[in-house]
Amino acid sequence: MRKLLLFLLFLLFFVSACNGSGVLYVQNTASSDKQIEPKEQIDIAIVPKVMEIPYFQAVQEGVAEAAKYTGATVHFEGPTTANAAQQEKIIHRFISQKVDVLAVSVIDPDRLTPVLEEAKKQGITVLTWDADAHPQARDYFINMVDAEMLGQHLLDSLVEQIGEKGEYVILSGSASSLNQEEWLHWIKQHNRTYYPNLELREVAYTDDSPVTAYQEAKRVVTTYPELKGIIGIASLGPPAAASVLKEEGLTDAIAVVGLASPRDMNTHLKEGNVRTVTLWSPKKLGYLTVMVAKLLRDGTVMDDGMLIDGVGRIQVNGDQIIMDEPIDFTVENVDQYDF
């Protein structure tokens, strides 16, 4: 009898116990785990072509901003002159330091490919920015602008000033620079397609040296008396050309367009030696490089049109990340930019 009572009590207890705690369902929060996970401290090494020129200094400023924002440890070091051997040495050192990400503005792709491949082998995420290496040697190339578009844009800017007929030369950096070669390719292509009366006389190389740039500019101006325009596709080209034209008093006869930082061109623009130059924001490029390094390291997949803090939307085309459209600097807006 007592056992029966106990059994009944037990049954009642059992039945009511099903209901006791009140919690009906606990949703797992897997979807939000990513945000809670503490951020891994990562080391990012950024190697420019050369340290002490305004363009890469601006890049460095952007890199520093992004480092502050992401909390990543960022090393910024490049050769004192644009020397591939020196750059290779610096990369070697970063590999031995076991950095997580290596982002290089490549001087000589042929020469640097082995060392970048080695870095990749060691598990380092290898990026190139500003100037590309051979595709197999890196994971992503962070391109400033779309090559085809830039080439067209530069030629169009020149045509706008000199018309569709005449001679021009191009001042490039070095023949080994893959992206300069690509821009060159698109300029020529565009020239052939749309401006058959426009004639490219020569492609001169500045070797990323202000002195060589000046000498080459002076040489082409004197070599081609019928010259109507100069396109500089390395950042040292346009300032050097502008200085030569100013000295020679040829600013009205020969138009200069190309890639140069607004700070370098500020005086020339204001004096009327040059009407417009084109560039992107190297600060933004530096910033984006760090952001991409960080995102890749966090396992984010790069999507076309994705929004990156402090940068905006980017295009992703295969293993190329394209930052922006080029900015034209004129006398009106040149003061707004501090690089």
Binding site: M1, L8, L11, V15, S16, C18, N19, S21, G22, V23, L24, Y25, V26, Q27, N28, T29, S31, S32, Q35, I36, E61, G62, E65, Y69, W280, S281, K283, K284, Y287, L307, D309, G310, V311, G312, R313, I327, N333, Q336, Y337, D338, F339
Partner: protein, 589 residues
């Protein structure tokens, strides 16, 4: 174990009902309760799982909406002109800054407010101590200075932030609730801070998202700031300003609390919680109705089944109870009642068998009783028919005296009388005689005694004329007369014995009256007790003559007949009550 004993001692009917309750009602009610509880649990769990899923969907949609708004400032970067205005210094000519103000606000209005997403109440841009605002509603508050404070904290964080209405003094004149989303604006080309954009998002977009969850009108949906517990959105209007999230046991899921089903899921990057509340009584109204109906049906079922079961139990227990009562009466010697057999089931068969048993017992008793009675009667008869040897001896002595005295005639008379007496007593096998014969025998006895006692003994007889045709048991008078003489002459010198036979009310009453000393009161009481006894129980007392007579009468005729004693003012009277019977030849057999 006391209860076990109590149970054992309960009547059958109660036992049956108790067992029925224990075996049927309790298991069925437990089963019912169990099924109901399981069903409710399943229903609760189902809804409990469904609510967080719906909430999570809603939360994701809210996130998406907020995210969409958070990236809206991107539109600003699409216009070089607006960026240039923001880059420009505040110190400019009045006309210039008015122009910029106009252009900026027009741009904000065109590309933010009049575009597809219409949930924005307003857009505010703070930059270098300037404010550009475009709103759909008039507003108050939100001055440059306080916006600058948020701007600065945003500049440091470089991320977006969410503000609730109570955190700013921005009030829209139509009273709309809003979420204020602050986003820092950056000059991306120069990597410098340009200012802050605040987007006031009308919370009514949550209404739209959660509309599908409000099929219960009592459901309440809230968007709660996790830090402060403040409500950013409340579907029930603003009853209370905040909710204590720490009172909730979980952060993501559903639970029951205070009679409400509450679902909760994080929203907007974990900083808010989307809470869904619905009173369980409304949520489970149908189930509760089902429960009430089930309980009522169950009670009706119990009443019906108890009623019918009581009937069944009565049908079983009642015949047994009757049987029991009958047995009790049998115990007290009543063998006359048998029970009616109404059914052919086990109880009917039991009753039948019982009836047969009772009848057999009755027959056996009857048989045994009769045998015993006959035996006793034979014994008594034998005792009484014996002529007392004393009497023979005394008579012979009287004869002897008479022979000595030479009274030959008298001797002859005595011997003749004695001979007649002996023959009467020898006439064995005859139980009944005519009244006349019995009187003659007594007279013979008395006359012989008179030879002995002469004048000391006198007697008289008085009997009806039809004495010859009336039947009485043999030797019924002599023992009484013998007693009268014996006790009378012990104390007195003379005695008279009167024998009178009457027919009174269908009875034959034989009265033997003497004028002796009468019955001693003690003796008489004893005698009367003896006479009242059942026949066949003979005591071996001194008065066995009288009691034997009484016994024989009772044995022969039944308890209605017998002997009674009376004390006169002079002497004792013995009355014998016999049935008034004609002589029959049958009686002699």
């Amino acid at each position: 174990m006391i209860s076990k004993q109590i149970f054992r001692h309960l009547p059958l009917m109660q036992k049956l009902l108790f067992s029925y309750t224990l075996l049927t009602i309790i298991p069925v009610s437990l089963l019912g309760f169990f099924i109901y509880a399981t069903y409710m649990n399943a229903a609760e769990e189902q809804i409990g799982a469904l609510v967080p899923q719906m909430l999570e969907q809603a939360s994701q949609q809210i996130d998406r909406n907020v995210q969409d708004v958070t990236i809206m400032p991107e539109r600003l970067y699409q216009s070089q002109q607006t960026i240039e205005i923001l880059r420009a210094d505040a110190f400019q000519s009045h006309a210039e800054s008015m122009q910029q103000q106009y252009e900026m606000e027009r741009y904000l209005s065109n590309s933010f407010l009049h575009s597809s997403s219409s949930d924005l109440l307003g857009v505010f841009v703070f930059s270098k101590n300037r404010i550009f605002a475009a709103t759909t509603e008039d507003y108050r508050g939100f001055s440059k200075t306080e916006a600058a404070v948020y701007g600065q904290s945003l500049e440091l964080e470089k991320g977006s932030m969410l503000l609730l209405p109570h955190e700013t003094n921005l009030v829209f004149n139509n009273g709309a609730d809003y979420l204020l989303i602050g986003v820092p604006l950056q000059d991306r080309d120069n990597q410098t801070y340009l200012g802050t954009m605040f987007l006031a998002l009308d919370v009514s977009f949550v209404d739209r998202i959660t509309a599908s969850m409000k099929d219960h009108r009592a459901a309440r949906i809230m968007l709660v700031d996790k830090m402060s517990g403040r409500l950013a959105y409340d579907s029930s209007g603003r009853d209370n300003e905040s909710v204590d999230l720490s009172a909730y046991p979980i952060e993501n899921g559903s639970f029951l609390q205070d009679g409400k089903l509450i679902g909760i899921t994080p929203a907007i990057q974990q900083t808010y919680a989307l809470v869904y509340e619905v009173p369980t009584e409304i949520l489970f109204a149908k189930q509760q109705q089902t429960r009430t109906i089930s309980i009522v049906l169950f009670l009706v079922f119990i009443c019906f089944s108890l009623f019918f079961y009581s009937l069944a139990a009565y049908n079983v227990s009642h015949p047994i109870k009757q049987l029991m009562q009958n047995m009790r009466s049998v115990q007290q010697g009543e063998f006359q009642n048998t029970l009616p057999v109404t059914k052919q089931d086990e109880v009917g068969k039991l009753t039948e068998s019982y009836n047969i048993m009772i009848e057999e017992i009755r027959d056996l008793i009857q048989k045994n009783y009769m045998i015993k009675l006959k035996q006793q009667e034979a014994e008594l008869y034998a005792l009484q028919t014996q002529i007392n040897p004393h009497f023979i001896f005394n008579t012979l002595e009287t004869i002897n005296y008479a022979v000595e005295a030479g009274e030959q005639e008298e001797v002859m008379r005595i011997i003749t009388t004695l001979g007649r007496m002996l023959r009467y007593s020898l006439d064995n096998g005859v139980k009944f005689v005519s009244l006349a014969e019995e009187i003659r025998h007594v007279e013979d006895f008395l006359s012989i005694q008179q030879f002995r006692f002469f004048d000391r003994l006198t007697w008289s007889t008085d009997y009806p004329n039809e004495a010859g045709s009336l039947q009485v048991p043999k030797f019924i008078l002599q023992p009484i007369v013998e007693n009268s003489i014996k006790y009378g002459l012990e104390v007195q010198t003379a005695i008279h014995i009167g024998i009178k036979i009457q027919q009174i009310e269908g009875l034959l009453v034989l009265t033997i009256k003497d004028d002796g000393p009468g019955f001693d009161p003690v003796v008489r009481e004893e005698l009367e007790k003896e006479l009242a006894l059942e026949p066949g129980i003979t005591s071996k007392s001194a008065h066995y003559g009288l009691s034997n007579v009484a016994n024989r009468i009772k044995m022969l005729y039944g308890a209605d007949y017998g002997v009674s004693l009376e004390n006169n003012h002079q002497g004792a009277t013995v009355l014998l009550y016999l049935p008034f019977q004609q002589v029959s030849r049958l009686g002699e057999s």
